[in-house]
Amino acid sequence: MDPSRESMLEITAVTLHFGGLRVLSDVSMSAAAGEITALIGPNGAGKSSLVNCVTGFYHPQQGNISLFGRETTGLPAHRVAGLGVARTFQHIELFEGLSVIDNLMLGRHRHLKGGALSNGIFYGRSRREELQQRAAVEDIVDFLDMPHIRNTPVGLLPYGLQKRVDLGRALAQEPRLLILDEPMAGMNVEEKEDMARYILELRQESAISVILIEHDMGVVMDISDRVSVLDFGRFIAQGPPEQVRVDPAVIAAYIGAPAGAVTGEATGR
């Protein structure tokens, strides 16, 4: 690994099984600050499980995970989130009856310091804090071009916008490591382009590290700095997109026969 890259996430030799089902075997990867790392692989390859290990939702039987230079294997999910890890979900997990703003405000939870009593009275520090949090949320609303839906209940929004709110909710946590689980699934081309633009701008404006799980190969190859390919719980390739794209093992995993590259172009191997 390039020593100049500040590592945000180190996964070393992680193995996870549920009973007799081995989901991840001896998996290692890293993600650096200011980089977009794509995690790809066929359905059931173990992508979401790996992410769940990182966020502390699953606890691997073997191996180590460290975040921001700190060992986090076995830490509960809320402690991991407190360190600055945020994620979006493949299936949107938002409060449908709450407005966009309120959903985002919930994302600010880890930055709230007041207790139940002082917030209940809503005076002094508590009030100032609320204003600060709201200002931070408004910056995200502006960043994601959502002013027009600010007060709309999330349940009324179209799917593409709900995905955007989900991203906003994750950003409200001000994460240092952002995990996006299929942020573009089910979107049309225009929505995908918007989402890709937000992810790129995010990387450009801050030293955030992004882990992107995505099936759209065009998007992955266009915006990622590194690509890791999982298949049956093992990494079969890791490296820059142009290298992974022509890797025979990857082609075999995706297409089943070594006839074309992941993008569908014939490589004439």
């Binding site: 200002a135 701008e201 450009q204």
Partner: protein, 643 residues
């Protein structure tokens, strides 16, 4: 003969200095940012203008040079405009949707060494065309997001320029005032590039006197109060909006409000409750269909109340046009309708306080206007052109079929070709670097409009159509295609209509359905569809439009009835040059693009094949391959056509 009006001798920046003495602590404008309306006082506004002017000098701008401004409406645009004027230069505001080529043409033609952009989207256009703009030295951006990628020798932030100006002001506190005092009201204050329905844009040069006179004339007829809220609604590249937001604002001291963005406008209007608003016909048509769609979704009871209320309102409007008073029983009905229908609807539209509400830029359909009058919204049409400002409105009485009466200080002359012409202190001095076009614009000392029209018995201006649009059928009967179009566009299912018929036997129509409204209708009728193209050719939709047109036909004189029409497979678009940036249809271009459909309409055929390539903004192309149905519409007594 017109009354003589005395105009201020100052320039706009000089009037601003006066305003700063008169009401320094009053709120000059508000911007909605991060969900909050943030006020700026006149003192703060004036200070920013001073600092920005000096900051631009620091950047190397020479007094007298022009500066261009591109982006969605934002106070920085006005600050730039007035700052440039205080250096004896002219501000050039471009439409935010302008293509990179349009931007390059105008910035090059106006020789702007500095361009102020709102955000990266606009900056990209300039960087893309930089090789064609050797004179462009600096790009000043208001929103820094994404701008760190650019060459910092060219791109600089608005705030940085303000800070540079503030330092210069501290070192030399009198420089700005001295510069402002050097200005004369015969200096060119603004260059307005007319989007024009034909040809390259032309830069109309307006002096300070032109702009001030234009505003003053209008306010003599339609006065504004300092406590009025005004929403900056149309693009500032549009003459009327620019006049009300610069000269008018400074002279009368009302408040300007800037919405958060185009998507939030409807909500922001409601929050502000503006007293004054200038909208385009398109916007009022959209409002109307927005109401109709929502009423269509309401419960039976609400729908019935609405329809009853609208009938009562229509009767009131009709009575008012005739100058009659309502009787006792009617007044009770009106009070109930006001409570149940009018007031709630006005509230929803954000027009509860609306007193000075206008439609301008193109003709508004009579039915649309009557609709708003029924709701008790005093919507008036304004007529004018970039080169002279606003010249008529309904300031003495409402007559929906006219453009209103000329305002004081404006004389309207009808030439022997039935063309409308203007004489006023607000008439411009000419087109920038285009003497030929300037010569063509004048007959002696009157400014030609290119519109055909006449003054009626009340002295109201009736505009028939653009002179070149007025069509003559083979039967020698003359008609206005725009009139027919507006009649058809009153239907909320129709978004755009273009009528042809010159030197033909009868008029025909090309129609754009309103994708949103018709789409909803189709859903309710359980009609499946995929794309706009598919929807537009569904038999049920064709039948719907046929019925709508047949209804319009029944209200028209026989020779103006439309027996054949086609629903277009795509929306007319400015990027395909089919519309101007103000969303006016470019008739000649449409005629050229769809000649094969028009020819089909005048033949026996029932279908035409369309194989068209569409180019998206990002350069991607797609092919549309479909069959358009040529629709026969029932008319009585049109010969030679199957009904």
């Amino acid at each position: 003969m017109t009354e003589t009006v005395i105009y201020p001798k100052q320039t706009m920046p000089q009037l601003l200095l006066q305003r700063l003495v008169d009401t320094p602590d009053a709120v000059a404008l508000r911007v909605k940012d991060r969900g909050i309306w943030k006020p700026m006082t006149w003192r703060e506004y004036g200070e920013r203008i001073e600092h920005f002017a000096l900051g631009m000098l620091e950047l190397g701008l020479e007094p007298g040079e022009n500066v261009a401004i591109i982006g969605d409406n934002w106070p920085q645009h006005l600050i730039t405009d007035l700052a440039v004027q205080s250096l004896q230069g002219a501000g050039v505001v471009l439409y935010p949707e302008s293509s990179p080529e349009e931007v390059a043409f105008i910035v090059g033609h106006a020789e702007c060494p500095v361009v102020v952009v709102r955000d990266q989207e606009q900056a990209d256009k300039l960087f893309e065309m930089q090789h064609e703009l050797p004179g462009l030295r600096r790009i000043i951006y208001c929103d820094g997001r994404g701008m760190s990628l650019y060459d910092s020798k060219v791109a600089i932030s608005f705030d940085e320029v303000l800070a540079m100006g503030a330092r210069r002001a501290e070192a030399n506190p009198h420089e700005y005032r001295e510069s402002v005092e050097r200005g004369k009201n015969s200096d060119i204050a603004i260059l307005m590039y007319t989007s024009g329905t034909t040809g390259e844009p032309k830069g109309a040069m307006m002096t300070h006197l032109n702009v001030i006179a234009g505003v003053k004339n209008f306010f003599l007829a339609e006065p504004m109060k300092p406590e009025y809220e005004r929403l900056v609604f149309l693009p500032l590249a549009w003459a009327g909006e620019r006049y009300f937001s610069t000269a008018g604002h400074i002279m009368e001291g009302y408040r300007l409000n800037f919405a958060e963005g185009p998507e939030t406008l409807r909500n922001d209007i409601r929050e502000i409750g503006p007293h004054q608003l200038l909208g385009s016909p398109r916007m009022w048509e959209d409002y109307l269909s927005w109401i109709e769609v929502r009423i269509g979704e309401a419960t039976w009871l609400k729908r019935s109340i609405y329809h009853w209320g609208m009938k009562v309102g229509q009767r009131r409007a009709e009575r008012e046009y005739r100058g009659h008073k309502a009787g006792g029983w009617t007044r009770i009905q009106l009070a109930v309708a006001e409570f149940l229908v009018f007031r709630p609807l006005r509230d929803h539209l954000g027009l509860l306080r609306a007193e000075r509400i206008y439609s301008g830029g193109a003709a508004l359909g009579i039915d649309v206007m009557k609709y708003f009058h029924s709701l008790g919204i005093p919507l008036k049409q304004v007529y004018g052109q970039t080169e002279v400002g606003i010249t008529t409105t309904h300031w003495d009485k409402m007559k929906p079929e006219t453009m209103g009466r000329p305002v004081p200080g404006v004389e309207i002359v009808i030439t022997e070709n039935r063309e409308i012409a203007h004489r006023s202190a607000s008439v411009f001095v000419g087109y920038y670097k285009n003497q030929a076009a300037t010569d063509e614009a004048f007959i002696g000392d009157v400014l030609r409009s290119g519109d055909e029209g006449y003054l009626d018995d009340d002295g109201h201006l009736v505009v028939v159509d653009r002179s070149k649009n007025v069509a003559t059928l083979t039967s020698n009967e003359r008609f206005s295609p725009t009139f027919i179009e507006n009649k058809v566009k009153f239907s909320s299912y129709v978004r755009e209509a273009v009528c042809f018929g010159d030197a033909r036997d009868f008029p025909v129509l090309l129609i754009n359905i309103d994708g949103e409204v018709v789409g909803k209708w189709a859903e309710n009728q359980r009609i499946p569809y995929t794309t706009y193209t598919d929807l537009s050719q569904r038999p049920e939709v064709i039948e719907l439009i046929r019925e709508e047109t047949a209804r319009v036909n029944s209200e028209m004189p026989t020779f103006m009835r439309v027996p054949r029409l086609a629903i277009l497979h795509k929306e007319l678009d400015a990027d395909d040059a089919e519309m101007t940036r103000t969303r006016k249809v470019r008739r000649a271009q449409v005629e050229q693009n769809y000649a094969f459909i028009i020819d089909g309409l005048y033949s026996d055929r029932t279908e035409v094949d369309v194989d068209a390539e569409v180019t998206y903004r990002d350069g991607r192309k797609a092919r549309i391959n479909t069959q358009l149905t040529l629709v026969d519409v029932p008319v009585e007594s049109v010969q030679g056509v199957r009904t």
